[in-house]
């Protein structure tokens, strides 16, 4: 039975989460709407955290259901899936176990990262409850975690309100590859989607680089892609428009957060700094978790296991062109690439709030002594250390973009590569090296 507008709120009330932490954190995020001049008019907007395990089959099939979060314009109402928030919270709590980013166990090896993803997705409640107990008696640590989580939830809310500001019919924040979902097999769909992402990544400097000989190849690839665009179904041809809508929603969210921080800075700099630091830490984790969850699901679908993922991924992707078609499933039909979203938001905030990017590169650094920052009352040192930690997160995201850049660029070229194979009469072996987690961390350590 279709859900009617007048029943939506009633149905949502039946699904409200009983988790007190999720409720209180979401409520705190909603309270921030009042403080934002840009979106104050939406302070009455309803936000629900729903336990869809209690939902009927009709609800699951209805417009109410979301895997992550969404806005329904009819009411309007923002809906979070409880499971999505629990996973986000578990990820934030896990990353908070280490203090400086370099000590995070999840960047030391692929096994640590995928082990974390596994624990969170397959044992959410038991793992989360054990993490929560750890900071039960540590007021400062628990406060910091809740601040990170709250600011992340606030960002998701701002993204959804961003859709309202653009007056679009519906929108949601989400990741893409669910366990057991079939991988993309249609080359035209894959190539067209990956071209959209490749151009988006390239716009911000995330490319494979290249010289004049590549321009000739690029023209040939473009010709191939333009030809394939005509073969995809009409609905998909609308995707670039929705993609732009998602980008606009992100941009609205960024602006809302920046203005909120600026407002706090005028009367309470310490709180503004703490909010900024915690927001970037939280968003970083949300982006990383989302990407590696999708990548892990992809590796499972390829049946190549997650251990030594970089090596296995390199070998699997080399086997045949279709792997790059399958890899298109890692990217959204209408959503910008996950890590890029987090990266651009962090960059927008840091460039707006800090002068670091304007400083002479010879004299600036992303590293700062943690010991000085840990001395009580030493606020100036703490501020510098927090900035250094945020910059490390920003550049780590830049480095981690590597896998997606390679997949999108090669994937977008797949149609043309197959044409060339046909002309040649034999497929050409093509090897693209993917990097392990520890290698990515080593790259970060080389930064000044």
């Amino acid at each position: 039975m279709p859900i009617r507008k007048e029943n939506i709120l009633d149905e949502l009330r039946k699904l409200i989460t009983s988790d007190e932490i999720l409720s209180s954190v979401t409520e705190s995020a909603v309270q921030l709407i009042k403080e934002s001049d840009t979106i104050q008019k939406y302070e009455g907007i309803k936000v629900f955290v729903c336990n869809f395990l209690k939902a009927s089959a009709d609800i699951i099939k209805s417009v109410i259901y979301t895997d992550e979060c969404q806005i329904i314009f009819l009411v309007p109402v923002i809906i979070f899936n409880e499971q999505f928030l629990k996973e986000t919270e578990a990820a934030i709590r896990s990353f908070s176990l280490a203090k400086p980013l370099l000590k995070s166990p999840y960047f030391q090896s692929d096994a640590n990262m995928y082990g974390l993803i596994d624990r969170i997705t397959n044992n959410t409640d038991s793992y989360l409850s054990r993490l929560r107990v750890m900071t039960e008696n540590d007021f400062e640590a628990e406060k910091a975690i809740k601040e990170q989580f709250m600011m992340t939830v606030y960002y998701f809310i701002c993204h959804e309100i961003g859709h309202l500001l653009e007056d679009k019919q519906q929108g949601h924040y989400g990741s893409f590859l669910k366990p057991g979902s079939p991988l993309e097999e249609n080359i035209a769909n894959a190539v067209v989607k990956l071209e959209m992402h490749m151009r988006d990544l390239a716009k911000y400097g995330f490319t494979l680089g290249g010289g004049p000989e590549n321009e000739k190849a690029y023209k040939e690839i473009r010709r191939n892609v333009d030809g394939l665009k005509n073969t995809i179904d009409i609905a998909r041809q609308e995707n670039p428009k929705w993609f732009e809508a998602e980008i606009k929603a992100d941009e609205h969210a960024n602006e809302i957060i920046i203005k909120l921080l600026q407002k706090y800075r005028t009367h309470d700099e310490k709180t503004a700094d703490a909010m900024q630091y915690h927001f970037i830490c939280g968003l970083f984790v949300a982006g990383i978790y989302s990407w590696f969850k999708d990548l892990g699901n992809f590796l499972d679908e390829l049946d190549c296991g997650r251990t030594n993922n970089a090596q296995m991924l390199t070998l699997e992707m080399m086997k045949n062109r279709e792997k790059y078609v399958n890899a298109a499933s890692l990217f959204g039909d209408i959503h910008r690439f996950t890590l890029l979203r987090a990266n651009l938001t962090i960059e927008a905030i840091l460039k707006e709030q800090e002068s670091w990017f304007d400083e002479d590169p010879k004299f600036r650094s992303i590293w700062y002594s943690e010991f000085l920052a840990s001395v009580p009352g030493n606020y100036k040192e703490l501020k510098k250390w927090r900035l250094s930690e945020n910059l490390q997160r920003y550049y780590m995201l830049c480095i981690l973009m590597d896998t997606a850049v390679k997949i999108s660029f090669i994937g977008f070229s797949t149609g043309w590569l197959k044409e060339e194979d046909n002309i040649r009469g034999t497929p050409q072996l093509f090897l693209m090296q993917f990097f392990s987690m520890s290698h990515e961390l080593d790259l970060l350590k080389r930064f000044k």
Binding site: A98, K103, P105, G115, R306, T307
Partner: protein, 248 residues
């Protein structure tokens, strides 16, 4: 019921270690997590505690420092409940090590200090030495060298009362480095080096020698400079052949 669960836990741990030995670290970590999940359901705290202690050690050994932290934190809570001071002291040390591995220097110091207090009160001197040496390491990282030296000297005093070779070796290695950085006590540095090589020659690998030999050499130069009557070659060959060789 608890005994059956313990068997399951041990099976999972073995599977985890086998997976890692076969190069499948991801699968290994999943088995380890399953083990700790089963452990959490065991009713008997003292049985649970013993298995958790092994698991915390295994997590640390295989580099799963986040899991080691979770396990050690829960261990400390159980130890406090059971009122076993020796276990509590040891598990506070394990917790401090997990904090250190995750960069939580302030929490590490707090836990090591808690362990030290219990150990001194109860006369667990080898564990006191371990705590003291670990705190010294933190102080050295903070460039508080005098504090570090004082703590390391204390560690050696504790070890006189209750020897523990591994702690003594680690303490001497740390002391040599800290004395070398401060460059204040060359004779003490030399004596520490001689003691280290006398007792632990077979355990001091080339990797360690590479780290400590510049400090030793510097201290030896100072000492010989202050004692010109001593034949340097003879002295070096007799006192520190591990660094200088024993050819006269």
């Amino acid at each position: 019921m608890d005994d059956e669960k313990i068997t399951l836990v041990r099976d999972e741990v073995q599977k985890g270690m086998d997976a890692i030995a076969a190069g499948n670290n991801d699968l290994g970590s999943r088995h380890f997590w399953t083990a700790t999940d089963i452990l959490a359901t065991i009713q008997d705290d003292s049985k649970k505690r013993d298995e958790m202690s092994s698991l915390a050690y295994i997590f640390t050994r295989y580099g799963f420092h986040d899991l080691a932290l979770i396990e050690a934190s829960e261990l400390v809570v159980i130890d406090e409940k059971l009122g076993n001071n020796r276990n509590l002291a040891e598990d506070l040390l394990a917790l401090g090590n997990a904090n250190t591995n995750l960069g939580q220097a302030d929490k590490a110091e707090e836990n090591y200090n808690r362990a030290l207090k219990i150990c001194l009160k109860k006369g667990y001197y080898s564990n006191a030495a371990s705590a003291s040496t670990n705190i010294a390491g933190i102080k050295a990282e903070q460039n508080k060298m005098d504090d570090a030296i004082a703590l390391l000297r204390k560690s050696l005093e504790f070890l006189e009362k209750e020897p523990f070779p591994e702690t003594e070796r680690n303490t001497l290695l740390t002391l040599i480095q800290v004395l070398g950085i401060t460059d204040k006590y060359p004779e003490e540095l030399i004596e520490s080096a001689k003691r280290l090589f006398k007792k632990f020659q077979n355990e001091i690998t080339p990797k360690y020698i590479k780290v400590i030999s510049p400090y030793i050499d510097n201290a030896v130069k100072k000492f010989l400079g202050q004692n010109p009557a001593i034949n340097p070659l003879q002295w070096k060959a007799m006192n520190l052949p591990q660094i200088y060789g024993n050819k006269l």
